[in-house]
């Protein structure tokens, strides 16, 4: 490893590249300028991602988000003069075994200083032991409460594992609160008190579906259908036959694959029922609108980690779509984009990242990350020390500057992304009754 001074970017280059993540990039640039680099060796960031298989639409965005963030970080001098170098391993939309192997390979072969990723189709805690045993930081958006439970069970072991968005348990109640808000404001009147819940087989989907089911009666709703589907699923006929036989006021699809959700809407719209349709996460991706086309219009979706439509979020989305094209999804790419920026700032503040098994140095990075309040295009990432997931706004904090917002959007024009309709102060539009519903 050779010593060298950190490269300070020119003012022109800095202004050109700082763009939408001005605050954090400026902070990083400042740290880079004032620091003496220990090395010019690249900082390896590993990313096990589902680049093929049924959730590849997301995996591709995770890679793009990291690439964009790495470009911006490197443009201002990397992390204390060390450029960020990304290494990807395809987890093929498969489970724990593949994710564990991928993470181990990134650490042992590629010497990744940290793992920064989106989600994988695993149980939610597959890479925790691999990262913990290697003494590195790992940041993921698996969005599972199992992460919090595991970290809480042994905080000394899992000091470096962060879930940079809130766990899925906030979705269920958050959705019911959202519907209540629509009703309280007179924007939606339920035609009856029935709710149909359609879930996939995974823990994430099932936990959200169960949370809705368990709390529905508190909101005056009766569960008329609770259906678990296999994945992938393209033929929704039997499920839709049940929905049509006993029309609900609300259909909540917590199975989250964008392509499957799009096929649901394509088949639902051939004979729609007078029901509000809510879809978990997948509808936030451009692939959903691409496949469902005009049938996507009217759908409501939610995510606890989606691009906001304010100055920072819209600026990011514009730049992202400009870079990767109309079929790209800032909602997916923004996750890893924000996570890598946050990691870079924390690592720079800590005096630089360590390599695998350099636990003391990486612990310093984790400490900085744990105390960081980072505002990016997806909102504020502030880590809850109890479980090491991001705080959720408004479920855990009523201060929007201190929690990752649980945002609700509605697709009102298939050509553009959903309009953010809740919560305040991030809402930029109002709910519109879907065309298939009776006023």
């Amino acid at each position: 490893m050779s010593d060298s001074q950190p490269k300070a970017p020119s003012r022109r280059k800095f202004l050109k590249t700082m763009g939408i993540s001005a605050g954090s990039t400026a902070m990083l640039a400042g740290l880079n300028q004032s620091a003496s680099a220990q090395s010019s060796e690249p900082v390896k960031i590993g990313c096990p991602a589902p680049l093929t298989g049924i959730v590849a639409a997301d995996g591709i965005e995770f890679r793009r988000g990291l690439e964009m963030a790495a470009e911006e970080i490197n443009a201002v001098g990397g992390i204390l003069g060390r450029p960020v170098e990304l290494v990807f391993v395809d987890t093929e939309s498969k489970g724990d075994d593949v994710v564990i192997q991928a993470a181990q390979r990134l650490i042992d072969r590629d010497k990744a200083s940290a793992l920064v990723l989106g989600y994988n189709l695993e149980t939610g805690t597959a890479l925790h032991d691999v990262a913990a045993d290697s003494g590195i930081v790992a940041m993921h958006s698996n969005t599972v409460v199992a992460h919090d439970e595991l970290v809480r069970s042994d905080p000394e072991k899992y000091w470096g594992i962060f879930q940079y968005d809130p766990p899925e348990t906030f979705y269920g109640i958050g959705f019911l609160d959202f519907v209540k808000g629509l009703e309280d404001r007179g924007e939606f009147t339920r035609p009856n008190n029935k709710i149909a819940i359609i879930t996939g087989p995974g823990t994430y989907s099932t936990n959200i579906a169960n949370a809705i089911k368990d709390n529905a009666d508190k909101y005056g709703l009766e569960v008329s259908l609770f259906e678990s589907v296999n994945v992938p699923i393209s033929e929704w006929g039997p499920t839709l036959a049940k929905v049509r036989a006993d029309e609900p006021a609300i259909i909540a699809v917590t199975h989250f694959y964008a392509a499957d959700q799009a096929q649901f809407m394509n088949q639902f719209m051939s004979q729609p029922t007078n029901s509000l349709v809510y879809m978990q996460y997948g509808a936030s991706l451009a692939a959903f609108r691409d496949i469902a086309g005009v049938n996507s219009e009217g759908v409501i979706y939610a995510t606890v980690i989606g691009a906001l439509q304010d100055e920072i979020g819209s600026g990011f989305a514009e730049k992202y779509v400009g870079k990767f094209g109309d079929t790209s999804s800032p909602n997916g790419g923004g996750q890893t984009y924000q996570a890598l920026h946050a990691y870079a700032v924390a690592a720079a503040l800590a005096g630089g990242p360590g390599e695998p098994y350099e636990e003391d140095r990486n612990r310093m990075v984790a400490d900085r990350l744990r105390n960081l309040i980072y505002r990016g295009p997806m909102g504020t990432m502030r880590i809850n020390p109890d479980g090491q997931s991001a705080f959720c706004y408004p479920s855990q904090t009523n201060d929007p500057s201190l929690g990752m917002p649980h945002i609700f959007s509605q697709i009102q024009d298939k050509a553009v992304g959903g309009v953010l309709i809740a919560p305040s102060p991030y809402d930029v539009g109002a709910f519109k009754l879907p065309s298939w519903m009776k006023a």
């Binding site: 590849a56 699923i233 006929g237 039997p238």
Partner: protein, 292 residues
Amino acid sequence: MDILIQILVTGLTLGAMYALASVGLALIFGTLGMFNMAHGLFMTIGAYAAFSLSGYLGLVLPVGLLIAMAAGALIGVLTHLLIVRFMLTGPNFETNVMVATAGLAILLQDVLLKIFGAYPFTQPVKVEGTIRLAGVAITLQSVVIVAVALVLISAIAFLLLRTRFGMTIRATAMNREAAELMGVRTTRVYLQVMGLAGALAGAAGLMISSLTTLSPQMGGDPLLKAFVICVVAGLGNVWGAGICAFALGLLEATVQFEFGVRFGFPVMLLLVILVLVWRPQGLFGRERVVRL
């Protein structure tokens, strides 16, 4: 009544897709005695061929179907010329060819991934719109899928039963040596069967992708279902595969409605176990008789 129609439509649509996928698989097994692990990729290539050319030509469905079938046939022929024919006379053909075609499937999948990426594209070669039957909306694409399956399977039936070409295929399937003694050029028959099965797979791929999305992995699930159907029907039994495909499609739709979507495929697998216990040769298979 509404529900019955919806179940029927779903069952027939599923059955038609399964039939297109499984008949080609059964044809190859019946003639060559090989389980083609790359059959799912033949479907995928057919779907991507129609998708790719539609961008340039704005294909209507009949032309798209022909292109998908041509692409499937081409890959079937190439598979035979470059891989299968070298193994035919070797020892352990059935095992070796299964491994070889599994390897081919991985290779083709990676090639598709390299060319098209993993983005779930929507298939533009399809028919939009719905018709109403007794108050139930039925998509025209479902009607098209069932129609295409019936036409193609009928055409295969005619080809195998009523033409000289079909006779040579049946003769080769029954007894290769005897067929050769009668002047049948069996190596050519094998080539033709691979092309024919590939064409059917290409059509299946186009139809399946019109209801799902395109992805390099899209052939995996249909291949699994086709294999289940072939086992239930009796490996290599073309007619049985067609009938079982529709029957299992209807059964799956009924189970999904009555007991829940998640029970559809497990019930199919349970059926395979029962059939293998009760009739190891399959519902339409005959012991010690070469089937077709």
